[in-house]
C-alpha cells in the first residue's frame, strides 16, 4: 500500500514537472491593426490596443519599440 502511494506521488510530481516545463507565456492581440483614415498634418492622434495574456505562464512585456 505504501509502495503504491509512493509511486502515485512520484507520477504526480513527474506530471507537474512536465506541465511546468512546457508552460509558456503567450501574447494575443485580437485587433492588431488600426486605420485612422484621413488625419490632418501637425496633429497628435492615439489609439488603444488591448493585449491579452493567453498562455499558461505569466507574460512579461519587456518593452515596445516604435516602428
Amino acid at each position: 500500500m505504501k509502495r503504491l502511494t509512493f509511486i502515485s506521488c512520484m507520477v504526480i510530481v513527474f506530471l507537474w514537472g512536465a506541465v511546468c516545463a512546457y508552460a509558456a507565456p503567450r501574447l494575443t492581440v485580437p485587433e492588431s491593426v488600426f486605420d485612422f483614415g484621413y488625419v490632418p498634418q501637425n496633429s497628435t492622434i492615439s489609439h488603444v490596443f488591448w493585449l491579452y495574456s493567453t498562455g499558461d505562464d505569466t507574460l512579461k512585456i519587456i518593452n515596445v519599440v516604435p516602428g
Binding site: S32, G37, Q41, T44, L51, S53
Partner: protein
C-alpha cells in the same frame, strides 16, 4: 507582468508632424514569449488640406477644448458637410474612454451639413490631454472612409501675482 488570463491596454500615440500621404507605423512588442515578436500596426492618410477632403469635410478638423481661466470649456460643436452625391451613414469607430461624450449625426444627405458635438464629462474637467476620435462614413455602395479628429485640452489658469494685491485698507504699500 500579466498573469494568465489578464489583459492590459497599449496606447499608441502618433504625431503626424509634416508627414504627407499614406503613413503606416508598426511598433514591436517585446515579451518573454520569445521570437517572433508581435506587432501592432497603425495606418493613416495624412492630409495637408483637411478642409477639402472627400466625401465629407469636417469643420473645424481639430477640436480644442483648451481652457484659459477658471471657466471650464465643456463642449465643442463641429459640422460635417457631405460633399458627395450620395447619402452617407456616419458612425463612431474609436474614441478614448472616460473623457468625453461624442454625438454624431446618423446620416447626412448629399450636399448637406450636419452638426456633431463633443462634451467633456465632469470627471475630466481637470484633465489635460491630446487624444483623437475616429469616425467612418459609408456610402450607398458600402464603401467606407475614415476620418480622425484630433482632440486637445490644456488648462491655463493665471496665478495671482503678489504685486497686484491691495492691502486691507485699500492703500498701496509706501
Amino acid at each position: 507582468m500579466l498573469a494568465v488570463g489578464d489583459s492590459t491596454r497599449l496606447e499608441i500615440i502618433f504625431s503626424t508632424r509634416r508627414y504627407k500621404g499614406q503613413i503606416s507605423k508598426r511598433p514591436k512588442i517585446k515579451t518573454n514569449e520569445g521570437p517572433p515578436d508581435k506587432f501592432v500596426q497603425i495606418s493613416s492618410m495624412v492630409t495637408q488640406r483637411p478642409d477639402s477632403t472627400y466625401p465629407i469635410i469636417i469643420e473645424p478638423y481639430k477640436l480644442d477644448l483648451s481652457q484659459f481661466g477658471e471657466k471650464v470649456v465643456k463642449e465643442k460643436k463641429f459640422t460635417i458637410k457631405n460633399v458627395s452625391d450620395q447619402n452617407l451613414k456616419v458612425s463612431l469607430v474609436s474614441m478614448p474612454d472616460g473623457l468625453f461624450d461624442f454625438k454624431l449625426p446618423k446620416t447626412i444627405k448629399p450636399g448637406k451639413k450636419s452638426e456633431g458635438e463633443l462634451k467633456l464629462i465632469k470627471e475630466a474637467y481637470g484633465d489635460t490631454f491630446e487624444k483623437s476620435v475616429t469616425i467612418e462614413v459609408t456610402d450607398a455602395k458600402e464603401e467606407a472612409t475614415r476620418f480622425t479628429i484630433p482632440v486637445k485640452r490644456t488648462i491655463h489658469v493665471a496665478k495671482a501675482s503678489p504685486d497686484t494685491t491691495v492691502n486691507s485698507k485699500g492703500k498701496g504699500s509706501q
